[in-house]
Symmetry: C2
Subunit: 141 residues, 2 copies
């Protein structure tokens, strides 16, 4: 079988294309994928920067800059954790919640367009297969 038609190759390419299109959609609202992920994870529960780093899977030193940007734009707030004053608790501000909601809508539209070649059942099937595939690798889903 040709290398370029294996599941692994197609998975890599699909990921690259999907990421590129998501980036474009998010850029329209002045967010990059990393900022979007921080908003997403922080929305669930107030997390420390270390915890965000672990769950998102990017270096702690990179989180600093992302949170700096989001804080300047008043989308998140740094609050000191009273139990451990080394830590911040990163929380979404009301405008952070609004921005996240808009971004979720935009990315959903991109996903919908991206999946256009698949009908409803096929999309559900794809999602289920990817969930099985990634469950072990994404402990913080």
């Amino acid at each position: 079988m040709k290398v370029t038609t294996t599941a692994g190759y197609l998975l890599m390419k699909a990921g690259i294309h999907a990421t590129r299109e998501m980036e474009a959609a998010l850029a329209a609202m002045q967010l990059n994928p990393r900022e979007f992920l921080v908003l997403t994870y922080a929305a669930d529960a107030p997390l420390s920067q270390q915890e965000l780093s672990r769950r998102i899977g990017i270096d702690p030193t990179l989180i600093v800059g992302v949170v700096d940007t989001l804080e300047e734009r008043r989308l998140v707030a740094r609050e000191r954790d009273p139990d451990d004053r080394r830590r911040y608790a990163i929380t979404l501000t009301p405008s952070g919640q609004k921005a996240l909601a808009r971004a979720v809508e935009a990315t959903a539209a991109v996903e919908d367009a991206f999946l256009a070649p698949l009908d409803r059942a096929a999309r559900a099937e794809l999602r289920s297969l990817l969930m099985k595939l990634m469950k072990e690798r994404l402990p913080y889903l």
Copy 2:
């Protein structure tokens, strides 16, 4: 639905993880994904650097360095196209063909491990869905 369980998000993450594991496997044989792709595409037919650039989807100026490296290692050869002396025809040397065969084996093993959570039928289904999804986006499959 949580953002982190949508098909689009999972596709991005799966692509990133698959790419990372492929990179590691290829690094063991001193190849990066780009070099691997050039070997793959050049194996089918002798192509110009511009043509490789178009099909693989990376900048022509980046092809230069990749071909330089592969040529130094005697995995590919630059032959002038007699019909258009501006062009090279990039061809695989015998050791290039051997290196490609080894790399294909290594990446197949990685793919097999990556897809471990899915049984035979599920893998075939995933591949078929990804083919449908990517057919339009990958004109040079």
